[in-house]
């Protein structure tokens, strides 16, 4: 049986099996768009937001789909969120990634959506970004010319803008396994269960007894890019996380974020959420049963 179906103008669709093949395609067609899970690209194509002459799919590039344990773990850019959640060993080491992954879209979206796509979208609301920022992940960037590594915090340049240059792609993340005294959590506020974040926060604390020796805080949907909140971190570090500290952390969060008003929420409400989520996260991490 051979039948025909015609679709509205659809670009060329390439399915390279290796990075080398992908780079050759990108060199031949610099305006081609990479596509991984396609959950963002295909929606944007349909909306007519861009008209690339070709799509270069990364789904068949096996090297992008690896998960390698180690002191620093390697998580391939092509790993789907569903695969990430099913990796038991990874889940045990980085429970905060599981918390965030579970809140990303629906089961259908998680089957397709990749870690790399989530980050390369460079959307302020990307759910995997805040946890990876507090884990101080590094982005492995690969091109025909070789590989380079940048801290994830330097990867996001603005809404939909990343540090990737022409011919470059994100190949993997390097994430160090956290020390024993560290724990992290991710909180997201949407309008309904499946929604992109109105605001999200990841907090990672290193505790010695009741004392917080290090605090890392990152936010989503609260600035032009997912971002660390240095003032909030400073307000928490070196304290016993008492009520006065939490009040200062809340105020710091409200001051430090740079949210916008859009159809989902006002900047004021987002600012309020920032403070509330930071406080809620710290409380969750310091509850006796979390210890």
């Amino acid at each position: 049986m051979s039948e025909e179906v015609r679709m509205p103008a659809s670009p060329e669709y390439h399915r390279p099996r290796s990075l080398e093949e992908a780079w050759r395609l990108l060199e031949a067609q610099p305006d081609a768009r990479l596509v991984a899970g396609g959950t963002d690209v295909l929606v944007r194509l349909r909306e007519g937001r861009y008209h690339p002459p070709a799509l270069v799919s990364l789904r068949r590039v096996e090297s992008l789909r690896r998960i390698e344990p180690g002191r620093a773990w390697t998580i391939g850019a092509g790993v789907s969120v569903a695969e990430l959640l099913e990796h038991r060993e990874l889940a045990a080491v980085f429970p905060v990634l599981v918390e965030a992954g579970r809140r990303l879209g629906s089961a259908q979206i998680r089957s397709a959506a990749t870690v790399g796509g989530n980050l390369c979208n460079a959307s302020p609301c990307a759910d995997l970004a805040p946890p990876l920022l507090v884990l101080e992940a590094r982005a492995l960037i690969a091109s025909a010319a070789g590989e380079r590594e940048v801290p994830l915090s330097e990867f996001f340049l603005g809404p939909r803008r990343t540090a990737l240059g022409p011919g470059e792609l994100l190949s993997a993340l390097r994430v160090e396994a956290p020390p024993a005294g560290a724990r992290a959590t991710f909180l997201k506020q949407g309008r309904v269960r499946m929604d992109i974040a109105l605001a999200s926060v990841a907090v990672r604390l290193e505790l010695e007894g009741a004392r917080c020796v290090e605090a890392r805080v990152a936010a989503g949907s609260l600035a032009p890019t997912p971002t660390r909140l240095g003032e909030v971190e400073a307000s928490l570090a070196g304290t016993e996380l008492d009520e006065a500290t939490l009040a200062r952390a809340r105020a710091a969060a409200e001051r430090e974020v740079r949210p916008i008003t859009d159809v989902r929420a006002s900047a004021d409400y987002r600012r309020h959420l920032a403070g509330a989520l930071v406080v809620r996260a710290v409380r969750a991490l310091t509850r006796p049963e979390a210890r």
């Binding site: 049986m1 051979s2 039948e3 025909e4 179906v5 015609r6 679709m7 659809s10 670009p11 060329e12 669709y13 399915r15 596509v35 396609g38 959950t39 295909l42 929606v43 194509l45 349909r46 799509l55 799919s57 789904r59 569903a82 879209g105 629906s106 089961a107 259908q108 979206i109 089957s111 397709a112 269960r193 499946m194």
Partner: protein, 164 residues
Amino acid sequence: MIDLELTVNGELARVRVEPGARLLDVLRGPLGLPGTKEGCGNGECGACTVLVAGRPVCACLTPAAEVEGLEVLTVEGLVGPGGDLSAVQRAFVEGGGVQCGFCTPGMVMSVHALLERNPDPTPEDVREALTGNLCRCTGYAQIVESALLAARKRREAREGGDRA
């Protein structure tokens, strides 16, 4: 145009399609499987949910070219050889989980995917598995009940020795 060899509901099919053709259009068009519905076309509503390699995906966001070499299961593929409905399908009928029916194939596929992984889900597991499936008729209560009924039917069938 590109030629693809797809495995849908256990059968091999050859199609010639535009390079970026969506799995949804290939199913409903040349493959003659209109059970999979198009709702939003943006991955939000889940009416087009099918299973690819055992995972639920939105066929509207899946390029047909990506499923070559993978097993695709649609709602038609749940029906047994004699035309018998699957346990999940029967549970939706008996449990009143169907109103206008448009979202039903997607719901059924999401529940099928859930039960393949988790034969004994809690109501919360069911709701979680169905976050990506919208129904505009019901309040979801009977859909969740139908899913739990399906789980029971499948467990009983397994214990009874025959396949659900």
